[in-house]
């Protein structure tokens, strides 16, 4: 069972929950466990929030793109912005590192993405925007095959 979707929306915080629900509804066709679904929603929330806060620094003109494809029982999830980009990706990925402590950011976004997904690749550069590619295998319940 293969499928794909691509979602674009304005970089406003209202759309964080919208993006979570949309991705969860798309992934539902794989019959994920509740835990898998929560992991995916959390990861979407982290990356979309980062695009809004860090990528576009709150500029509502920014556009966030979330794309997802299902290949057999694997979810490929991409979340990207064409905002400011990240100068030092390795530093950014450190647990507790945040460039915006004054906004009460915890610096745990990347750590959560790494823990909840099987693979994550970060493409970013100053002025080039940021693209987060993630992969997660969804448990294959054999009784549910169709």
């Amino acid at each position: 069972m293969n499928n794909f979707m691509k979602l674009q929306f304005a970089a406003v915080s209202n759309n964080e929950s919208f993006a979570r629900v949309a991705v969860a509804a798309f992934v539902a066709q794989l019959d994920p466990t509740v835990e898998e679904l929560t992991d995916i929603k959390t990861v979407v929330s982290e990356a979309v929030t980062n695009a809004i806060i860090h990528g576009y620094e709150g500029n509502p003109e920014g556009v966030v793109t979330v794309s997802a494809s299902i290949i057999n029982h694997t979810l490929h999830l991409n979340i990207e912005d064409s905002g400011l980009g990240i100068a030092d990706v390795e530093e950014a990925r450190q647990p507790l590192y945040t460039s915006k402590p004054e906004m009460e950011r915890s610096g745990m976004g990347f750590t959560i993405m790494e823990n909840f997904m099987d693979e994550i690749t970060v493409h970013s550069g100053v002025g080039l925007g940021t693209r987060i590619q993630m992969i997660k295998q969804i448990s294959n319940d054999l009784t549910q095959m169709n």
Partner: protein, 117 residues
Amino acid sequence: MSLKMQTERIEHTLIVRLQGELDHHTAEKVKSHLEEQIAMNTFTHMLINLNELTFMDSSGLGVLIGRYKQIMERGGQMVVSDVHPSIYRIFEMSGLFKIISVHPSESEALASLEVVS
């Protein structure tokens, strides 16, 4: 929109019950509401009940840590109760357990505080 907050004062403790989804969008509301309470009131401790919180991401961690710091500054303690498994994992990853103690129920969390004060 999708987050509701209810507060109750018991002795030296402000109990905060969160309901719904705590993300960057709703965190703003929680932060400003709790900062107001901290500024106005004379309670010492804060107890956050997460029993009806159905979703939380790292923006939620940020609000909790921010309030923890303010409560510490006035010599109080912050405790949390009723943490769902998915949120528990995020707490674990961040090392939050080292600074904020977690209790299975609101009454146990409250008991732990009232012993302190």
